[in-house]
Amino acid sequence: MSPEKLVRMANQIATFFASQPGTDQAERVAAHLKDFWGPEMRSELKSYVAAGHGGDVDELVVRALPLI
């Protein structure tokens, strides 16, 4: 799947949870990705970030990825 699209979708999710109160935003992003994304989509995003393409990825997503 196109990594740009995955990044855009993940960033959209992060934008929502960043606006939510509390200190568990990264956990909530991780939970959302686990609940609604198939495992292949998650691992593609992980590999993309792991390969050093993290520049355009929201910081909250980066923090969430190790939790999934």
């Binding site: 799947m1 699209k5 855009r8 959209q12 609940d35 994304w37 198939g38």
Partner: protein, 965 residues
């Protein structure tokens, strides 16, 4: 005599039912107790006595014009009309006194003296109240003759015997494609005029002239039924006691002799209809007065647009082809199914278990949908199931799930009659949900206030006897800003319901929320620049909703189909919780569902992350229920959603799709991307009535059955589970649930359902909210609203009555985030899309009916200011381009849209509005952002090259080889 398959008490009670204290009276010696305010006529009907009548019918208020229903009441003078006389305690009524019998006979004699006596060849023969009443009053003779000097003093003879034309005679108006108006048979009872006003709320009809010159008239001078405001709902035809307003199908086919009660397969209102037939030939569909969703009303689609079932383009035999550039080859069911199963198995062997999936249909029944998701979960061994709700109401599922705890409208449709303030957001009920709109308009005429939040000036904003108190014409894409600003006003002006919030929500969460919305950046004055909504108007609307009594919110796809669709749904739920407008009659949050079974298809576990009943696949206890029932192991990970399937297909990871009753190529956004995804697959199985656009890319076509040809249930927008009953045998040979079962068996599954009732038993056994649902129960009570279980054996009209499904209601922070789809120099306008009354979604059904008379092509609504800048005139061909693609269509100039906004429908494949829409989607659910696309509009000469290529490709893809000898 009629032979009804479903025996029902369909008697016309004469006047509408009333609510009030009990009143007891005596009618012809029978004691009867009825609510105060009831007419003597209705009381008599309750006692089993039918007082003769012509102008009264129980769908409209009494009128008292025909004088046929006169009765004698002891102690009262004269002969009062029983329809307009309310009952009184101790009243003694005689319906067959000598005096009234004489009056009635005289009245009937006058009526018949101006009526053609062609009963035997009349279309209403056997179904004519005038004929019945002449019989009941014992009319044996008509003494009146026209005077010798005026032999044509009647309305029914076109010419006299010498050939002289009769100036009083008017020809039949056959302009409406579905019914005729024959003035020569009219008795001027006004039932049609009153039905148009009271039931439909369109006010298209009137009585013009006085006395002998009185005529039913549609529209203004020079209008006929087609050119008038008539929306062809059929209420007038239903109300007409004679053949004056008559269905053309009855004229052609004859009076029906049997009927079956079933549920309409168009929008999410889910109207109940009586399908009336002779043998297995459908003659007409008549709204069923005991249907709890529609209460005897209908719209042009359900009432009349069913001819597609017999359309010449309907495919009745299975077809296959090796590749999509080959013509189709008709084959036996066995060959088609073994070809499909063979391909799917081969794909799974080569590319893995998860390389195939299914799309369930919101047009199919609960039982069929349940089987399709079961096919992928239990037979394919993955969770790759999704449904058309992905592209419409998936944000409702997420948003209401987060805030209230379950994805469902909170009310029944009757609830609107108790609302004081109705907020309509991103919905156009008069076009999309017309039967609900009629109820709403009725309530508005009774005095309820209306707030419309929509970029367009939809009909509800101002139409006959209805005017919105506030219309907030927001810029497309700014829903969250508007909804949050409404909450800002409610919180900062302390208009919230503190007792409700303390009782039903979490107070700490409220305080956090209150702090968030109170921030100045959410004030209407600050958001005005983004939203285009005048601050004062927004403040006034917020005050009205919070303080105007029962506040009810109805919303549609203008809310969900955005990058922030889910956030807006949460914002709407917030408004209801803040103001305590939840958990009783007249209030609530009500998603208006697009298709007949959107609610049901979601309930049935069509989404890739949840099993039936909205339970996540990650939960081992839930999986265990289905693993035990199905004898398989269920994947604990969510599967692919439709957009993910297409992305994965383009990437070469997803290869096979079974698509039931959905046309993703036409309905899903970014057509070119959808086409690329489909073209990349090795086995696309389309299961549909027609060779739809998606079928251009299919390898297997399985012909489907219409809603008239199968048993099952639909669940409408109010969670109402209603029976779909088989009216005739499937022309394609099998009901859709049987076809899915045959495919599962070809894949090796051991399924052996013999009736959909057994599928419902399995649903009830596995899904708590359906635990009490059985076909027997539905036969007994007609319909139930889920949850239907031990606690609520007859269903739940209103949800969250004593507490939210999730416990405490949850107020969610709703920060506005502008969509990435922005206007700029290249694409300076915003396109938003919607649908109209006469066509339905991709139009596969309605385009194959006479409804095309009202809408033959999609047109682009452009504000005159934007049009002038571009030199565009009414009816010009224009090119509509976005960064995704371009198409061409005709323009119409209207100030219904604001400057900077253009609007079109997506009913016609020739236009393919979705070539324009982008792949942006809701953050939580991937619901596409159909409602906001940055576009440019310019003059053009006609269809684009892309449209021509597309049409040519579609034509090639639809070739069918002649059947082998």
């Amino acid at each position: 005599m009629r032979d009804f398959v479903i025996p029902t008490d369909d008697r016309d009670m004469g006047t509408p039912a009333k609510v009030g204290a009990p009143v007891t009276l005596s009618i012809d010696g029978i004691e009867v107790t009825v609510p105060e305010g009831t007419s003597v006529m209705r009381a008599a009907a309750e006692a089993g006595i039918q007082v003769p009548k012509l102008c009264a019918t129980d769908s409209v208020e009494a009128f008292g014009s025909c004088r046929l229903c006169v009765v004698e009441i002891e102690g009262r003078r004269g002969t009062p009309a029983s329809c307009t006389t309310p009952v009184a305690e101790g009243m003694v009524v005689h319906t067959q006194a000598e005096k009234v019998k004489k009056v009635r006979k005289g009245v009937m004699e006058l009526y018949i003296s101006d009526h053609p006596l062609d009963c035997l060849t009349c279309a209403a023969n056997g179904d004519c109240e005038l004929q019945d009443m002449a019989g009941v009053v014992g009319l044996r003779d008509v003494r009146y003759e026209a005077p010798p000097e005026a032999p044509l003093a009647n309305h029914f003879a076109a010419r006299d015997t010498s050939g002289e034309a009769n100036p009083e005679w008017l020809p039949k108006d056959t302009s409406n494609p579905y019914f005729t108006y024959d003035p020569s048979k009219c008795i001027v009872c006004s039932r049609c005029v009153r039905a148009c006003e009271e039931v439909q709320g369109t006010f298209a009809l009137t009585i013009e002239g006085r006395g002998f010159d009185s005529r039913v008239s549609a529209g203004g001078p020079g209008d006929d039924f087609l050119s008038s405001d008539c929306v062809s709902c059929g209420a007038c035809v239903q109300a007409c006691p004679t053949a004056t307003l008559q269905e053309k199908s009855v004229i052609e086919l004859g009076t029906p002799t049997r009927s079956v009660v079933t549920t309409c397969a168009y929008c999410g209102v889910g109207c109940s209809f009586k399908a009336e037939l002779n043998g297995d030939e459908l003659v007409r569909m008549v709204p069923y007065k005991h249907g709890k969703a529609n209460r005897g009303h209908s719209c042009v689609k359900g009432r009349f647009a069913w001819g597609y079932a017999n359309h010449a383009e309907r495919i009745l035999n299975p077809m296959i082809r090796e590749t999509i550039d080959e013509p189709w080859r008709e084959v036996s069911w066995e060959e088609a199914l073994s070809f499909a199963a063979g391909r799917l198995k081969r794909i799974q062997e080569r590319h893995g278990r998860k390389s195939v999936g299914v799309i369930t249909s919101s047009r199919c029944t609960n039982e069929e949908t349940y089987l399709v998701q079961k096919l992928t979960r239990a037979v394919f061994g993955n969770n790759n199931t999704d449904t058309c709700a992905r592209v419409c109401h998936s944000p409702t599922g997420y948003g209401l799930g987060q805030t209230f705890g379950t994805s469902a409208g909170t009310q029944d449709f009757d609830s609107v009659m108790a609302a004081d303030v109705v907020v309509v957001i991103g919905a156009n009920p008069t076009d999309g949900h017309p039967v609900f709109a009629s109820r709403l308009k009725k309530r508005l005429r009774e005095g309820a206030k209306l707030i419309v939040i929509d970029p367009r000036r939809i009909d509800l904003v101002k139409s006959a006897h209805v005017e919105a108190a506030h219309h907030l014409p927001l810029r497309p894409g700014t829903n969250v800003a508007v909804v949050t600003a409404l909450a800002h006003v409610i919180v900062t002006e302390k208009l919230y319901d503190e007792a409700f919030i303390r009782d039903r929500c979490d107070w700490d969460e409220f305080e956090e929320y209150a702090e968030f919305v109170s921030d100045l950046r959410h004030s209407p004055e600050m958001t005005e620049m983004q939203t285009g909504v005048p601050a004062e108007e927004l403040r006034a609307a917020a005050r009205l909703y919070a303080t105007g009594g029962n506040g009810a919110i109805y919303y549609g796809l203008g809310v969900t189909e955005h990058s922030q669709g889910s956030t807006t749904v949460m914002g709407i739920a917030n408004l209801a919780m803040l103001t305590g407008n939840i958990g009783r009659d007249g209030v609530g949050v009500n998603p208006l569902r697009g298709q007949n079974n959107v609610q049901g298809s979601c309930d049935m576990g069509s989404f890739p992350h949840e099993l039936p009943g909205y339970r996540h696949v990650k939960n081992a206890d839930v999986r265990a229920i289905f693993e035990n029932a199905w004898g398989v192991e269920i994947d604990p990970e969510p599967g692919l959603r439709i957009p993910n399937m297409l992305d994965a297909a383009v990437a070469g990871q997803f290869k096979g799709l079974y698509c039931q009753g959905e046309d993703i190529l036409q309905s899903d956004p970014d057509t070119k991307h959808v086409a690329a995804g489909l073209a990349a697959m090795e086995c696309v199985i389309v299961h549909d009535l027609f060779l739809n656009e998606t079928a251009n890319y299919a390898h297997v076509f399985l012909p489907g059955s219409t809603f008239l040809e199968k048993d099952g249930t639909f669940t409408n927008a109010e969670r109402r589970i209603n029976r779909v009953r088989k009216v005739m045998a499937p022309r394609n040979g099998y009901a859709d649930w049987e076809i899915t079962q045959m495919l599962a068996r070809a894949m090796g599954a051991d399924w052996h359902y013999t009736h959909p009732a057994q599928i419902m038993e399995e649903i009830a056994a596995t899904t708590p909210s359906f635990a009490g649902v059985t076909y027997d129960l539905l036969e007994d009570v007609g319909s139930v609203q889920w949850p239907c279980n031990e606690a609520t054996p007859e269903g739940s009209p209103i949800m969250h009555v004593d507490g939210f499904v999730r416990g405490k209601g949850r107020l969610m922070i709703t920060e506005y985030v502008a969509t990435d789809e922005r206007t700029g120099p290249r694409f300076p306008l915003l396109l938003t899309t919607g649908r109209i009354l006469s066509q339905y979604n991709v139009g596969a059904q309605t385009r194959r009916t006479a409804n095309t008379v009202w809408h033959q092509e999609d047109v682009l609504e452009v504000h005159p200011h934007d049009a002038e800048l571009r030199g565009i005139k009414e009816g010009d061909w224009v090119r509509l381009a976005s960064r995704s693609g371009e198409t061409a269509l005709r323009a119409t100039l209207t100030d219904r849209v604001s400057p900077g906004v253009v609007y079109t429908t997506f009913h016609h494949p020739g236009t393919q509005a979705n070539v324009i829409t982008t792949d942006y989607s809701d953050w939580a659910t991937n619901c596409p952002e159909y409602k906001v696309t940055a576009v440019q509009v310019s003059l053009s000469n006609g269809p684009t090259d892309w449209q021509k290529d597309y049409a040519a490709q579609a034509e090639r893809a639809r070739r069918v080889l002649p059947a082998a000898e």
